[in-house]
Symmetry: none
Subunit: 237 residues, 4 copies
C-alpha cells in the first residue's frame, strides 16, 4: 500500500465534496485553462492565503486580497466565480500541497504507530515550513466553515469524513494487526486533528516558531502514542 495512492485518493474525494458544496461547478477545472490564467489563479490564491493568515478570515475582503496581490478587485472576479470558489481553491491548494509534502514522509514508515507519529510530525513540519498556510486553513475551517454549512448532515459530515480518512485508515490497519489497542478510530482521528489544529493559533501568538513546533511535536506524538498503543506488555515493543 503506497501512501501516495491511498490518501491522495481520499483527499481528492474530500476535494470533490468541497467543490460540490457550491452550485457553480466548472466542467473540471483542469481543462482549457491557459498558462496565464493558471498563473493568475495561483497568484491570487497565494495572496488570499497571506491575507487570511495576517488579517483573519473575517477581515479578508476581496479588496484586501486584491491589493495584497497588487491587482484589481475585478480581476479576482474574472478568475473566480465568487469568493466561495476562491476560498475553496485556497483550501484545495493547501490540501494538495500538504499531501504532497506529507505523503512521502508517512509512506516511509511501515507500521501504523510510526505512521501516526509521522502523520503528526509531518503536519507540524509543514506548519514550520508554511505557517501562514496552516493559519489560513484553520481560519477558513473555523470562521468560514460554519458560515458555509447549511445542510447539516450532508456536506459538513462528508468533508469531515474526507479529512479524517487517512488517519482512520491508519487506525484500522493498526487495530487489525494488533499494533493499536481498542478505540473508536473516527473519534481518535478527530482528536488527533484537533490536537494538530491547536498549533496554528500558537504560531500567530508566539514569535518563537521553532520552539512552538518542537514542543508540540514532542507532546502530541507522546500523547497519541500512549493513547493508541495496545496495552498488553507482550505485544508492545
Amino acid at each position: 500500500m503506497t501512501w501516495n495512492n491511498f490518501p491522495l485518493d481520499q483527499l481528492i474525494g474530500l476535494l470533490c465534496y468541497i467543490l460540490a458544496m457550491q452550485p457553480k461547478n466548472e466542467p473540471d477545472g483542469q481543462k482549457g485553462r491557459s498558462f496565464i490564467e493558471e498563473a493568475r489563479r495561483t497568484q491570487i490564491v497565494a495572496a488570499a492565503i497571506e491575507t487570511i493568515a495576517e488579517a483573519g478570515y473575517p477581515r479578508a475582503s476581496m479588496e484586501r486580497i486584491a491589493s495584497k496581490a497588487g491587482i484589481s478587485r475585478g480581476l479576482i472576479s474574472y478568475h473566480f466565480a465568487g469568493k466561495a470558489e476562491l476560498i475553496r481553491e485556497v483550501a484545495t491548494m493547501i490540501y494538495m500541497d500538504g499531501a504532497t509534502f506529507m505523503g512521502p514522509r508517512i509512506e516511509a514508515e511501515t507500521r501504523p504507530p510510526a505512521q501516526l507519529r509521522a502523520y503528526i510530525t509531518a503536519n507540524l513540519e509543514y506548519m514550520r515550513a508554511h505557517p501562514e498556510r496552516m493559519v489560513a486553513l484553520v481560519e477558513i475551517f473555523t470562521a468560514a466553515g460554519t458560515a458555509v454549512s447549511s445542510a447539516p448532515d450532508t456536506e459538513a459530515s462528508a468533508v469531515e469524513d474526507g479529512t479524517l480518512a487517512p488517519l482512520v485508515g491508519i487506525f484500522h490497519t493498526g487495530q487489525a494487526n494488533g499494533d493499536f489497542g481498542d478505540f473508536d478510530p473516527k473519534v481518535m482521528a478527530r482528536l488527533v486533528r484537533a490536537a494538530i489544529d491547536t498549533v496554528p493559533p500558537q504560531l500567530s501568538r508566539d514569535p518563537d516558531r521553532d520552539r512552538v513546533i518542537d514542543v508540540n511535536i514532542a507532546e502530541i506524538t507522546k500523547v497519541f502514542d500512549r493513547a493508541t498503543r495496545a496495552l498488553d506488555p507482550k505485544e508492545h515493543q
Copy 2:
C-alpha cells in the same frame, strides 16, 4: 482546597480578561437592574445563543437575533451597549453557568486524575444538557476570537491562559504528587480543551446526541488518562 473556590476564582479571572477586552466596563453591572430588564437581557442572550448555534457567528446579526427573540433591533441596543457587550454577556453567562454545573462534579473528586476525568465528563454532560450553548461558545471563541485579536501577544494569550488555568492547575498538582507523569501542563491542557471542543460540531451534525456524548466521554477520558498518568515502572523506557 475546595474546587468550588479554586476554579471559580480562575474562571472569574478568565471573565475579567473577557470583560477587559472591551473598554466600556460598567462598575459592576449587577446593580440597579430591574426585574423586567434582567428578564429581557436573559431573553436576548438566549436568542443570541440560539442564533449563533444555528446560523454560526458570522451570520448572527443583530437583526437575526432580534427576530429570533421576536423583538425589534433597537431593543437590543437599548439593553446592551453594542454587539460586543451582548457577545460578552453570552460568553460570560455560559461560562458562569457552566462553572456552576461543573464545579461540584469536579470538586467531588480528590485526586488529580479523577479530577481530570471529572473535568472532561462534566464538560460533555453540560453539552448534553445545553448543546446549543456549547456550539455557540465555540463559535464565539473561534470566529470572534480571530476577528478580535489585533494585539497578538496581549489579549488572545491572556484569554487562553484564563481558559486553560483550571486544567493547568490540576496538572501541576498531579505532577507534584506523582499521580501524573512528565509533560508540559499548558500544552496538555490545550489538547484537552481541543478534544472537548471537538464535540459541539458533532452535535450539530449528528441527531443522536446521547450516543455522541457517550462515545466521546469514553474515548476522551481514556485518551487523556493514558496520556497523563505516570508511567508504570516496568513500562518505562
Copy 3:
C-alpha cells in the same frame, strides 16, 4: 422710553416668532401649569443648557439631557411636546433672562453711543456670569438654526429682525440726533451681534475666562465706537 418696556416688547415679538416656528402651539404656556410642572421644566431646561454647552448641540440627545438632569427620557417628553419645543424653551429662557440682566444696564445710559457700549458690555458681562448659557445659545443658533429653517424668507428673517431690533432701535435714535454717522442700521446691528457671538466659542477654548471677556469688551466696544460715531470733529466729544 424705558429699556425695560421697549426691547422686552421686541423680544417677546421675537419669541412669538420662535414659538410660531413649530406647529404644536399650546394655548399660551402661562396658563394652567402647576408649580411642580414649572419646576420640572426649569430643571430640564437647565440640564439642556449645560448639556449643549458641554457636548455641543449635535451631541445633546434627549438621553444625555435627561441623565444630566437625573431624570428619565420619558419625563422630558411628558413636559415638552418634543425636542423642538425644549430647544425653543431654552432659547426663550436665555433670552428672557439675558434681557432682564442687560436691560437695566442699557437703560441706565441716555445717549445712544453709551447705550451701544452698554449693550456690548452687558452682553459680555452676562457671558462672564453665565458662559454656558451663551455657549448653548450660539450652539443652537448655528447648529440648529439652519436645520430648522425650512421656509427661507419667512421665519428666519423674522427671528433675525427680532434679535437685531434693540440694536437697530439704538442706531436709529443715534442717527436721528446726530450721535451716530451714516450707516445701514440693520447691517451694523448684524455686525455687532456677530462680534459678540464671537466670544462664546473662545470661552470654550480658553480657560482664562476673565481675560477673554476683558479683552473682547475693550476691543469690540472700541471697534464699534469708531465705526458708528459721527465723523465731524465738531459734533464729536
Copy 4:
C-alpha cells in the same frame, strides 16, 4: 513679498490643520487619480456643497448628497474614505478655490489698509460668484466645528489660528508701519471674519443677492477701515 506666496502658504497651513484633524492621511492624494475618478470626486463634492447649502449641514446625509448627485450611496464611499474625508474635501476645495480667486485681488494692493479692504471685498465678491459655496463652508465650520471638537485646546484653536493667519499678518504689518492703530490683531481678525461670515445666511434669505453683497461690502469695509486706522492726531485722546 508677494501676496500670492504669503497667504497661500498660510492657507495651506490651515489646510494642513484641517487634514490633520483626521487620522487617515493619504501620502499625497494628488497622485494616481484617473480622470474619471477626479471628475466623480468633483461632482460629489459639488453635490455635497449644494446639499449642505440648501438643507444645512445636519441634514446633509450621504443619502441626500448621493441622490442630489444622481448616484448611489455606495459610490460616495467608493471615492471617499468616509464622510469626514468628503467634508474635508469640500472645505479644502472651497478654500483653495477661494484663495485662487482672492489672492491676486489682495496682492494687487500694497498697503495694509488697502489689503484689508481688498480682503473683505474679495471675500464678498467670491460669495457673489459662488454663494452656495460660502453658505456650505459656514455651515461646516459652525455645525461641524463644534461637533468635532473634543480636545478643546488642540484642534479648534489650531484651525482658528490657520483661518485668521492671513488677516493677522496684514494687521501686524500695518501696525508696524504705522498704517494701523493699536488693537489686538487676533481679536480684530476674528471680528473681520465674523463680519464676513454674516453674509452667507443673508444670501439664503434675500433673493436680491447683488444688493446684499453691495451693501455689505460698503458697510463692512467702512467699519473696519475706521476701526483699524491710526488715529488722526487731533482726534486722538
